[in-house]
């Protein structure tokens, strides 16, 4: 394959190339991570003590900086005591891929400590918070945004103040939300709503303003009145773009999740991650982070995929490439799902 076929400006790649690059984009960080974890002379700044020798400063199972280990051993050698031995390791906050994979598997299969939640329970709780926050924001933001895009009146009335509000970081509303809404899930949902809503109004208004004036004028010469113009021309015209906007805002919701869940009684996947961080189970921390990423990515891709069926008139067809990408993206979660299902069935009496 010639270089130009990979690098030509503004051209789409073949389905094969697309799938290959998608795999590569996930594989490259994974390979880097594996190299840092498994090749002993790359990084590995600490030494895990296997045998303390004559040292009183180090004990078996300790992690010490490599320079200190060397100094200590030099001192032991001078004193004529037996030398300590150990293996080079990475700091505890960078677990190896296999440790994280095991943790991920265990998180779904072994019961957590008493009082803690299963990973999937935490996750489900988080998903519910996001879903509520997103739904409420969309119910207010979409109609308001469309109104602002359609009528200069509502645009001038609403947009300046919203523009002012959206510069305030949502967490600053945390204390207020707690005072008004109590310490359960409501303030968390409120933070997500605040994080999404103001930008959503402005973005939807802008999307609406981009409707081809020619279509509106054509409808007017066909006898469409003001109301029909909105319902029969503006709304159908913006639907594909609106759908994409909402997809992006669902992603924005996830970015506010961690902050939202720290407000009041902390909960959900962020609480799981924080808790595991306190226990210094960094493999669990990683599995929590990866699960968030996967859930986000999969929902987004599912929505993108559905989007192509929803709007056949945009002319973007579902080639075999789209389906290949879909398979690749869903491989990990689908396998996980199967595994979890199997272990559930096994654990049932």
């Amino acid at each position: 394959m010639s270089r130009t076929s990979w690098m030509s400006v503004g051209r789409t790649l073949t389905p094969r190339q697309t799938s290959l690059l998608t795999v590569l984009s996930f594989l490259t960080p994974l390979i880097l991570w594996s190299v840092v974890s498994y090749v002993p002379w790359i990084w590995h700044p600490q030494v895990l003590i296997d045998d303390a020798g004559g040292s009183t400063a180090m004990a078996v199972g300790n992690r010490v900086e490599r320079s200190r280990f060397v100094e200590e051993n030099a001192a032991l050698a001078v004193a004529g005591k037996p030398l300590a031995s150990g293996t080079p390791v990475n700091p505890v906050f960078l677990p190896a891929p296999d440790a994280v994979a095991k943790a991920l598997y265990n998180a779904f299969t072994t019961p957590p400590r008493r009082g803690d939640m299963w990973l999937h329970q935490s996750l489900w709780h988080s998903i519910k918070i996001i879903a509520w926050g997103f739904a409420i924001a969309a119910c207010i933001g979409v109609p308001l945004g469309i109104a602002c895009g359609v009528w200069a009146f509502s645009s001038r009335l609403v947009e300046p103040f919203v523009d002012f509000l959206r510069y305030m970081p949502p967490p600053t509303f945390g204390a207020l939300a707690l005072a008004v809404l109590g310490i359960n899930d409501e303030p968390k949902v409120a933070i997500i709503v605040i994080g999404i809503l103001f930008n959503m109004i402005l973005v939807v208004a802008n999307t609406t303003r981009l409707v081809d004036r020619g279509l509106i004028e054509a409808a007017q010469t066909l006898g469409a009145g003001n109301r029909k113009l909105v319902t029969r021309v503006v709304i159908p015209a913006i639907l594909p773009n609106l759908y994409n906007d909402l997809r992006i805002f669902l992603g924005v919701g996830w970015t506010y999740l961690t902050i939202a869940e720290m407000i009041g009684a902390s909960s959900g996947i962020s609480q799981f991650i924080n808790q595991q961080g306190k226990y210094r189970n960094y493999d669990n921390v990683f599995s929590g982070i990866i699960v968030i990423g996967l859930v986000g990515l999969v929902t987004d891709q599912v929505l993108a995929f559905i989007g192509r069926f929803l709007f056949p008139w945009t002319g973007k067809t579902n080639g075999p490439g789209a389906i290949a990408v879909w398979r690749i993206l869903t491989f990990v979660p689908a396998t996980l799902f199967r595994l979890v299902g199997r272990s559930f069935r096994r654990s049932q009496p």
Binding site: A218, L222, P236
Partner: protein, 313 residues
């Protein structure tokens, strides 16, 4: 409305000049479908870096009448205000002065009595061809089944019945404009306004579309105002050609130069293009639209940028 077109009768070159002239007498006896009175349009131009902003006069005191079931073409140099004129007729733009009357009533905003076909393709991309053509009918509160059967007849009339369930992005440019014409006509306007509808089409398709339009016009109760900058098209389609001039010493903006009766055998068809009378009318129009200027004025101040000996002629 007839679903199938009557075969287009060949124009009869044997018509005497008197018979042709009589046709224009009869034409002027028809009711006035649209009347343009002292129409003017000024645009506010924004403050520019070089000078201060102000007003640009697009149209200046335009007067004419369009009679029922006539085709009037409007021609003029680029920027003389043709689009502005037709947009005011459609009600999409407000006149700065003067007014437009349709059947004696002043125009106030767009309405289904004046259909429009735009130069840019303005089919609704989310609707199939059939639904596009049904749009105007359902805006008028006509029930789905009735709208559907009427729309199908119009689609058949423009020869696109095989594409009724297709989306606009699956059609060629010429097909899109045929759907646009069907969509405009289906709403049963009194007047059809067309702003360079065939401008983006290749000559072959364009000739085909002109022939379609003439056939439709003969079979449908419709008055047409057709904007173009193509002289052949203007003469071929028109009963009368309205010539607009660009701003000059005596006129601050686009203005009406003349309205010319096209004394040609009727009904027109593409054969007329070879008629010597056609060529004569076309020549007269050409002089009106593109007045002769001393050639020296047209010399471009270009510095030679090629090598010596590389002359092209």
């Amino acid at each position: 409305m007839s679903a199938t077109l009557a075969p287009l009768p060949f124009s009869t070159p044997s018509l005497t000049p008197e018979e042709i002239a009589n046709r224009f007498v009869r034409l002027r006896q028809r009711p006035v479908a649209m009347e343009v009175q002292n129409l003017g349009k000024r645009f506010q131009t924004p403050q520019s870096a070089s000078g201060k902003g102000g007003e640009a006069v697009a149209l200046n005191n335009v007067n004419f009448q369009v009679y029922r079931r006539e085709i009037m073409t409007v021609i003029g140099p680029s920027g003389c205000g043709k689009s502005t004129l037709v947009r005011i007729l459609a009600g999409l733009e407000q006149a700065s002065s003067g007014r437009v009357l349709v059947d004696g009533k002043p125009v106030d905003g767009p309405g289904p009595d004046r259909g429009m076909v735009f130069q840019a393709y303005t089919l609704f991309p989310w609707l199939t061809v059939l639904k596009n053509v049904m749009f105007g009918l359902s805006m008028q509160g006509i029930g789905h089944d009735e709208a559907r059967s009427q729309a199908l007849q119009w689609i058949e009339m423009v020869g696109l019945e095989r594409f009724a369930e297709n989306y606009p992005h699956q059609l060629s440019g010429g097909m899109k404009q045929r759907v646009a014409i069907a969509r405009a006509l289906a709403a049963k306007p009194r007047i059809l306004l067309m702003d360079e509808p065939f401008g983006a089409l290749d000559p072959q398709t364009r000739a085909q579309m002109q022939s379609y339009l003439l056939q439709i016009w003969q079979n449908v109760n419709i008055t047409i105002v057709f904007i173009t900058h193509d002289l052949d098209e203007a003469v071929l389609l028109a009963d009368r050609v309205c010539v607009l001039g660009a701003a000059d010493e005596s006129h601050p903006g686009g203005h009406l130069k003349t309205i010319m009766d096209v004394h040609l055998p009727y009904p027109h068809d593409v054969d007329v293009l070879k008629d010597p009378r056609f060529l004569e009318i076309r020549r007269q129009l050409d002089e009106l639209v593109h007045p002769r200027r001393p050639l020296a004025l047209d010399r471009l101040p270009i510095v030679k940028m090629t090598q010596r000996g590389d002359e092209v002629g």
